[in-house]
């Protein structure tokens, strides 16, 4: 510095002045980080789709994982997959959140002396487990969920190499064990039947929930609703009859609901079978077994005695029996989880006998050969045996992967106590749950989106799981962990394990197939074998069909309802599934107990009053939800809530870690099995009393009464036929459709006017669209507190109404009466989203033109222009606009959840209005594709997220200006039942609703249909 001369000084001054000036001009600088080597299939900015498989439940739906720059941003159904054919349920949509969950274990953890989890390296963890396994000397057991055949057999080999005597237990809380055992008892085939409801024109559902959680809900929903397509005569003739104690989602979609005494479903099935048997034999058709044998089995089940045992009138039994016998493709479905009693095998057997009588076996009910059957969950008896082994100290090391048994087993089973007797508990969970919290060592598995794997949901379907995301944290695939632990144990164990990584094991298991082609398609799909001809075996005569006994404890039978969203509780830690309200009660984030209005009156409680429910096995306090659609002698509580662990599953996100969100109905249940060792759920009676406390319910809809506003309309089959005869729109409420021409709602130059046709006859209310919409459009989940304050941000909701309701203009603010009642099935599910009105009330009131009419007929919503006056929302008659009262900017999304935000959609800032724009980002992407190809946007090139995921294809989207587009044709073909919501306001919506068709008798509830 001392030698700094004049010249250098001048240079220095010049450089720093220039530098300072340049620096002063620059804004905050972001970085552009390109690839080191860009993979050939990736173009930054363009989504790449990979085929994979959903592992949320054992149904095994195929996935298309949409990735941007190697990061999954959305899950969609794989259209080529035979199980789901392109659709996904709400749980499948939300499954992406597991990979980006803030709760994730970021690496292996060892429980320290103080009980806290401490980080440990994979090398140390592997060595530790190897040492513990060596010391266990074969006293090693494992519990796993549905992990697929390849990983499952590797796990089994690993355990065999340890000298484990009992091996691995495949545990599913919804194991449906009775299906296999009943099939063995009736037909002598010990395999779970496959229900193929394609074209099934008469379905009697004895309490299964095929539209919610039973076996393969996406597939069943598609099959049932496709069969009921009303444009075809066959669809008009199709019937669905539901038997069960409460108006479930499936019941609400049925044509007839028989609220039989819970537990008497088997008797009812036999009563119907007896009528059907006579009718089938009278018609000279074969019955599925020796007629004398069947006559013998059914002898005691004449309509009158069955009527007195079930509470279903004898005439109804006779009528349904005769109609069922005449059906072309009948199907009777055995009870689902809620009605799995201690006599579940007999009940299921009774339903299978009914199937056999009408010739459904081999048509709609397929019995795969026993040998080809896919691995099925262990029976509950085996679970109890394992718990006994643990209690007696026979298990030194227990390996746990999935299933969350601490939560999902009844406390009386003693799993938690037994766990304390196990020397070393290892969990492979990637997200913490009640079970992993009890583990000594946690070796986090990759999430399904980060893993290799496969699943064989049924014979003929082999589905591949491929990683689409590099592990976000220091986790390791379960298969690789097992291989490494085995190798760390020394050559004697390693020699019994395959060489290489789990990926090579998987490829070896798929040898003989074109692996690359299978990766592209998502798997290898062959036709499901129809199964050999089977008939009712003589062993069926030995089944005792009498009704089950319930553990006495009070007047109310506890019905544990499998949740359509949370399943057995595994969905509870995914915020989308918590925030999406239950499809029937519309309660989000909470637990509730459904009781009848009569019962509520007897207990002296109203809506939200907290009840104490006590069985001999447990006690919970839960707010009452009195409703008309439930029997007086039951109390129904949904399974899935009541977690103490998990950011969203418990109250941890609200700063109350460890506090359970809602109640776990399983804690009320005894650990009982049915006759053959399957898990029994419908087991306990309870005393119910008022506690005097009250809870506010986070409900998105407070009444099922639409007060005659003609939002969700229904027509009877007769009036539909009449309306069509009167050349479209003989019906008063539909008059608005005729003069309305969508051409007026887009500029004359525009070749497009985007619109939808939503078929209420196909919408089951499952709410998959809500989750798909939220994930596609970066819609924030606000939490219980803000839902309570009415600040849910969902752009799409399913409104549920019963009947037409009655106008109550001028009657003040009194709460309208609900219309649900026993036996009434006029439930109308109405997907409500922005109607993209041609004469939109929101547009003229915006002072800054942030919402305006686009040339293509959309109500554009320009977030960066919005100043938050909320005038538009106040003026919207459909209440579909959502305001960002709080900051949900990218920075406020929890780490690493922001990584899954869709880069094609702006994340809205605080003080900004937002709403559905028919997934305009997808329209623009399709437009670019069409422009590049030099063509117009083809029909079907744009699929909004809700349309894409709908299992029943209830929503059609497209260009209303093109008379040949699918949406125009659908609206035209169904012109007699097309209408616009709130048509009297003349908002000229872009969405045509197609009224629900009531196939039964005249809908009740009065008013206008």
């Amino acid at each position: 510095m001392a030698e700094l001369d004049r010249r250098d000084f001048l240079k220095l001054v010049g450089v720093s002045a220039g530098g300072a000036a340049a620096a002063g001009c620059s804004d905050h600088v972001e970085k552009l980080i390109p690839y080191v080597v860009q993979p050939e299939e990736i173009t930054p900015g363009v989504a790449v789709v990979y085929a994979s498989t959903c592992l949320e439940c054992p149904a095994g739906c195929g996935l298309h994982v949409r990735t941007r720059e190697s990061r999954p941003i959305k899950l969609e159904g794989n259209p080529e997959h035979p199980v789901n054919r392109g659709a996904l349920c709400a749980r499948g949509q939300a499954a992406i959140g597991r990979s980006y969950h803030p709760d994730r274990y970021t690496g292996p953890r060892l429980r320290g002396a103080g009980g806290a989890l401490e980080p440990i390296s994979w090398e140390q963890a592997t060595a530790l487990l190897a040492e513990k396994l060596g010391a266990a000397a074969g006293r090693v057991r494992a519990i796993s969920g549905a992990i697929g055949p390849t990983l499952g057999s590797l796990f089994d080999r690993f355990l065999a190499a340890q000298g484990s005597s009992g091996g691995r237990l495949y545990y599913e809380s919804f194991g449906f064990e009775a299906l296999r055992e009943a099939s063995r008892a009736v037909f002598g085939v010990g395999a779970r039947p496959i229900f193929d409801l394609e074209g099934a024109d008469f379905v009697i559902d004895f309490g299964a929930d095929p539209l919610e959680s039973w076996l393969s809900p996406v597939e069943h929903a598609r099959q049932i609703e496709a069969t009921r397509e009303v444009t075809a005569q066959a669809g008009r003739d199709a019937r669905l009859v539901y038997v069960g104690p409460r108006l479930s989602l499936t019941a609400g979609n049925a044509d007839e609901w028989l609220p039989a005494k819970p537990g008497s479903e088997g008797v009812l099935a036999l009563g119907i079978a007896r009528v059907a048997l006579r009718a089938v034999r009278a018609a000279g058709r074969p019955v599925g077994g020796d007629p004398a044998l069947l006559e013998g089995i059914l002898a005691g089940f004449d309509a009158e005695s069955v009527a007195s045992r079930t509470g279903v009138p004898a005439e109804t039994i006779e009528r349904i029996g005769r109609a069922f016998a005449q059906a072309k493709r009948p199907a009777a479905l055995p009870p689902g989880v809620a009605l799995t009693s201690r006599r579940a095998t007999a009940t299921t057997a009774a339903v299978l006998i009914l199937d056999a009588v009408v010739g459904a076996i081999g048509q709609t009910v397929l019995l795969p050969a026993e040998a080809s059957a896919t691995p099925e969950p262990a029976s509950f008896r085996d679970v109890l045996k394992l718990i006994d082994a643990m209690k007696s100290g026979d298990v030194a090391v227990l390996l746990l992967h999935g299933g969350n048994p601490v939560y999902s087993l009844p406390p009386g089973a003693g799993f938690v106590e037994a766990l304390d007797r196990v020397g070393f508990v290892v969990s492979f969970a990637s997200l913490p749950d009640e079970t992993s919290e009890k583990a000594h060592l946690i070796l986090p598995d990759n999430t399904p989106l980060e893993s290799w794997g496969d699943l064989a949901p049924r014979p003929g379907v082999r589905s591949l799981v491929q990683p689409t995301l590099r592990p976000l944290y220091d986790t390791q695939a379960l298969g690789d962990t097992l291989l490494q632990v085995g190798r760390a144990q020394g050559d004697s164990v390693a020699a019994q394990l395959p060489a290489g990584s789990f990926r090579t094991v998987l490829e070896a298991a798929w040898a003989g197939t074109d692996f690359r082609a299978a990766l592209g398609r998502g798997g290898v799909f062959e036709t499901t074998p129809r199964g050999g001809a089977v008939s009712v075996a003589a062993s069926a005569a030995r089944i005792d069909f009498k009704e089950p006994q319930f553990e006495d404890g009070g007047p109310y039978l506890v019905v544990p309802v499998p949740s359509a969203l949370l399943y057995d509780g595994r969905g509870a830690n995914l915020s989308w599934l918590q925030e999406t309200p239950d499809p029937v009660t519309k309660v989000a984030w909470q637990s509730w107990a459904e009781i009848s209005h009569e019962a509520a009156k007897a207990l002296g409680v109203g809506h939200g009053d907290v009840l104490a429910v006590e069985t001999g096995f447990g006690r919970v306090e839960v707010p009452a939800f009195p409703r008309g659609g439930i029997r007086d002698d039951v109390i129904a509580i949904a399974i899935g809530q009541g977690h103490q662990v998990g950011l969203y599953a418990s109250h941890a996100a609200e700063g109350r870690a460890g506090e359970a969100r809602g109640v776990n109905v399983i804690s009320l249940l005894p650990p009982l099995t049915d006759e053959t060792g399957g898990r029994a759920w419908l087991t306990a009676r309870a005393t119910v009393s008022a506690t005097g406390k009250h809870a506010r319910m986070a409900q998105l809809q407070h009444t099922d009464n639409q007060r005659g506003r003609q939002l969700a309309e229904a027509v009877t089959l007769a009036s539909l036929t009449h309306g069509e005869d009167a050349a479209h729109g003989g019906h008063a409420s539909h008059e608005i459709r005729r003069p309305y021409d969508p051409v007026n709602d887009s500029t004359p130059e525009s070749p497009y006017r985007w619109g939808m046709a939503i078929d209420l006859d196909r919408c089951t209310g499952c709410s998959a669209c809500m989750v798909a919409c939220s994930i596609e459009n970066n819609v924030p989940q606000v939490g219980e507190d803000l839902v309570l304050r009415g600040r849910s941000m969902s752009w799409l909701r399913i409104e549920r109404y019963v009947g037409a309701g009655e106008p109550e203009w001028g009657t003040g603010r009194k709460r309208p009466e609900d219309h649900e009642k026993l036996g009434l099935v006029d439930v109308r599910n109405l997907p409500m989203l922005c109607q993209q009105c041609g004469a939109a009330p929101c547009e003229p009131v915006c002072p800054v033109l942030a919402t305006y009419h686009t040339p293509e007929g959309l109500n554009g919503m320009i977030y960066n222009r919005c100043i938050g006056t909320r005038y538009c929302s106040n003026n919207c008659p459909y209440k579909v606009r959502r305001f960002n009262y709080f900051d949900y900017q990218i920075e406020s999304w929890p780490e690493p959840m922001r990584l899954m935000l869709n880069p094609d959609v702006s994340v809205r800032g605080q003080g900004v209005m937002e709403k559905c724009t028919f997934c305009v980002q997808r329209i623009e992407t399709a437009r670019q594709g069409a422009k590049n190809a030099g063509s117009q946007i083809a029909d079907g090139a744009v699929t909004p997220a809700c349309v894409q995921t709908c299992p029943t294809h209830a929503i059609e989207f497209g260009n209303l200006k093109d008379p040949k587009s699918a949406v125009s044709r659908r609206a035209e073909e169904n012109g007699a039942r097309a209408y616009h919501a709130l048509h009297m306001l003349n908002t000229r919506p872009g969405i045509s609703y197609l009224a629900k068709v009531n196939r039964g008798d005249e809908p009740e509830g009065g008013g206008h249909v």
Partner: protein, 244 residues
């Protein structure tokens, strides 16, 4: 990024003037250096050899010596100059992690923009070339290029398989959904928005001299700038074309 108002345009001009003035003062210093010459000048690198030869051509009396290891035509003199300019902190614009010159690649050698920015005609984003694309050419070049710090950094990234963290020059707010492919496929020259990048050693946002509505250049990347062109070319002015 907050929207800018016209005062910021004034500020931009003022900054630019200060920068030019500052640079000029610095240059005076450089010229002053030249006067000190008398003894034999020995080149320490290929680039210095180029410069010494040029000086000698101007002034044949100059004694220069070029060791054989630096007596190479490659890297060229232009490359040397571009590299030096790209790391010159005195000129406007940030110095990138690699002293990459668009002038050298796109200008002198006329490498097509889309050779490196290959997503431009099929993606909303132009894409920045991966290390692999750079090395595709550069690994074939003689070792003498390693005298460039930029080439050494590039090779370090290639060896360590780490990405290069470039500083973004053209950044649109996240509520703007810009489609490169739509513009490129219409035949809009890259320069219409990005300026004469092929003449820049260091890329900066240059003022758009085509539109001077109030004697000041339209601020680039502002909506008014987009709309002027959309209006003039009959392109869509519908809000949801870019905002969703």
């Amino acid at each position: 990024m907050s929207p800018r108002f016209s005062p910021s345009r004034l500020a931009f001009l003022v900054c630019l003037l200060v920068a030019i003035a500052g640079g000029a003062v610095g240059l005076v210093g450089l010229f002053a250096d030249r006067a000190v010459a008398g003894e034999t000048l020995i080149a320490g690198s290929v680039c210095e050899a180029h410069e010494l030869r040029a000086l000698q051509a101007e002034d044949p009396s100059l004694q220069i010596q070029i060791p054989p290891e630096f007596d190479s035509p490659w890297p060229s003199r232009e490359a040397c100059q571009s590299h030096a300019a790209a790391e010159d902190e005195s000129t406007p614009g940030p110095v990138q992690p690699i002293q990459f010159s668009h002038k050298h690649h796109a200008g002198l050698y006329q490498i097509d923009c889309q050779y490196c920015h290959s997503g431009t005609d099929r993606s909303p984003s132009a894409g920045v070339p991966s290390v692999g694309v750079c090395m595709g050419c550069h690994k074939q070049f003689p070792a003498s290029y390693d005298e460039f710090a930029g080439i050494r950094t590039l090779k370090e990234h290639a060896a360590a398989e780490t990405p290069i963290e470039w500083l973004q020059i053209y950044r649109l707010p996240e509520y703007v959904q810009f489609q490169h492919q739509a513009h490129v496929r219409k035949g809009i020259a890259c320069q219409s928005c990005h300026g004469p990048v092929e003449s820049m050693d260091k890329v900066i946002v240059t003022p758009d001299t085509k539109w001077w509505p109030w004697l000041l250049p339209t601020q680039k990347l502002e909506m008014g700038w987009c709309i002027q062109c959309h209006r003039a070319n009959g392109a869509s002015q519908d809000c949801v074309t870019c905002h969703y």
